[in-house]
Symmetry: C2
Subunit: 326 residues, 2 copies
């Protein structure tokens, strides 16, 4: 199918077309502009919510509850579960089957796991592009669920309209992890499993940390308590998310970050494609056998790539001159 | 100081020069080739050990114990603590002060925290370059400690000679995290805090997971129990790491991954530099105001960058023709 036709079917909301389009962006082809360009033109209405936290805090259950709330309000929900799994096989082990059961048969919910393929940065780019697909397909809310506090997750959270960081009452390790992690980009903190001992202390610790920041108290991220297993606290959390997302959309800051991140990723991919695997492989072999270093090789590849084109241009100019002479 | 002179002082093992050189690579200037080129030529002898795991498993204490073992064997140890902290301020909050106390006054140990600055991929590149600095400075072992299971961490672990994944006995969440995380790139698993209840079960769970893989049992990663607080189990772990690292170095596979990762990062940085912030900023504004999409903008920027050079080349060719005519 032509990418233009696929784009049309995505905008019509066809689930199979959505799945196909996300597979295209996941493969990371740089020739997907005819697909993504039109989709991007139809996107921009969805609220993009990032939800992150270490394993075991109940993110999946919480996302299911949030989804149920939004569905109850007639909203269409797209969920992207970002899986740091398996850089070699590209497999996504978590989620899909289990998650789909909760909303099976509900055409207003689309769930997709994404795993990294290819080089660093590929996952952030693919996730950003998948958001465009789900947005263009008419989803009102798009949740990006990530594990951990790695740089990739930070990059992904930065581009959401609202970043939600989830933790649980515990030994203080989790609070430390937040502190060391994505504290500065969190818009909302959630202490899940709030029936556990120490929930209020966890809330107090996060609030104390936030009080150390320089921002005025009215700009500080709210700290919500939830119990995803029962649904307690989920409705107020949804209200906080929606209020922030609607505000953030008009402020445009996150949207600018998102545009910059996408552009940079697309540029990088295209450039590496233009250089070509053969050139990179040859340079890698020279580096491995000790006859070259990566830094001068990089300088050289950039220089040669441009020189080759200059040469082609000069040859073309020469042919042109010859033709006009003849 | 000229980069060439700085490189000489790094190779001489001067701590201040090492610190200065790592700051240069952390800043991510693309003009550091005169520093990194010579250093790369002197590097390649160190064993590079990646050590990763979620917060609270005792990574820092374990690294201290490992360091004491290597020091006892007369080895020089460089430690890079990768901090996913604070993408906006670039601050590195964890580690340095606390860590340095344990090995204060020991000139055979160099500890450095690194945090992300700038765009995605910057941390992996900077960490890789810092390994080159520490390697050239004569460290026998370089430990890269990372938190979490994000893609950045996976990328970093991939380039180590030996990747060690640390967990603790627990609810099974940690094992799930490993499963979902860097399972396939782990060379050694460690169950730390092995005095806790459930340690043997944790080992059995990891071994059961490994048995599901297709690799023959003799190629399966060992699972070690340690108690970093007392030092129990650390000497056998060091023996496993050293044996693998010495083998891996000769196999060269990891070294090839590392060369590829460095080259790609250096290329990407240089290309984005060549495009320039002004061009990217202007395109971002067009994307934000809805008059453009990131994919066609990326195509356009690449095309225009090359066309501009073609134009310059054509102009130069034209001038040349004019001169020969005149």
């Amino acid at each position: 199918m032509r990418y233009e036709d696929l784009a049309e079917r995505v905008v019509a909301g066809e689930h199979r077309a959505i799945a196909r389009a996300i597979s295209v962006v996941e493969d990371g082809t740089t020739e997907a502009a005819p697909l993504l360009g039109p989709l991007f033109g139809c996107a921009g209405r969805a609220r993009v919510v990032g939800l992150t936290g270490p394993p075991g805090v109940g993110k999946s259950t919480l996302v299911d509850r949030l989804t149920a709330e939004w569905r109850g309000a007639g909203q269409r929900v797209g969920i992207i579960a970002v899986d740091p799994t398996s850089p070699f096989t590209g497999g996504a082990v978590l989620g899909d089957r289990v998650r789909m059961q909760a909303h099976a048969g509900d055409s207003g919910v689309y769930v997709r796991s994404m795993a990294t393929r290819g080089h660093l940065g590929g996952l952030a780019r693919a996730t950003g592009d998948a958001v465009v697909v789900l947005d263009a397909a008419g989803h009102d809310v798009i949740v990006i669920e990530t594990v951990g506090v790695g740089q990739g997750e930070v990059e992904i959270a930065r581009t959401a309209d609202v970043s939600v960081v989830v933790t649980v009452p515990g030994t203080g390790d989790d609070v430390q992890a937040i502190k060391a992690g994505i504290m500065e980009i969190a818009d909302i903190f959630v202490v899940n499993k709030a029936d556990r001992e120490g929930a209020d202390r966890a809330v107090a610790e996060i609030e104390a940390m936030l009080a150390l920041q320089e921002s005025p108290s009215e700009d500080r991220p709210p700290v919500c308590k939830t119990q995803a297993s029962t649904g307690a606290g989920v409705a107020p959390l949804v209200a906080e998310i929606d209020a922030l997302a609607r505000g953030a959309r008009h402020r445009g800051g996150r949207r600018r970050e998102r545009a910059r991140s996408r552009l940079r990723a697309a540029l990088t991919d295209r450039f590496l494609d233009a250089v070509g695997d053969a050139t990179i492989d040859a340079a890698v072999e020279r580096i491995v056998d000790g006859s070259a270093d990566p830094y001068r090789e990089a300088d050289g590849i950039l220089e040669r790539a441009l020189a080759a084109r200059r040469g082609a241009a000069a040859a073309a100019a020469g042919r042109g001159a010859g033709a006009s002479d003849g």
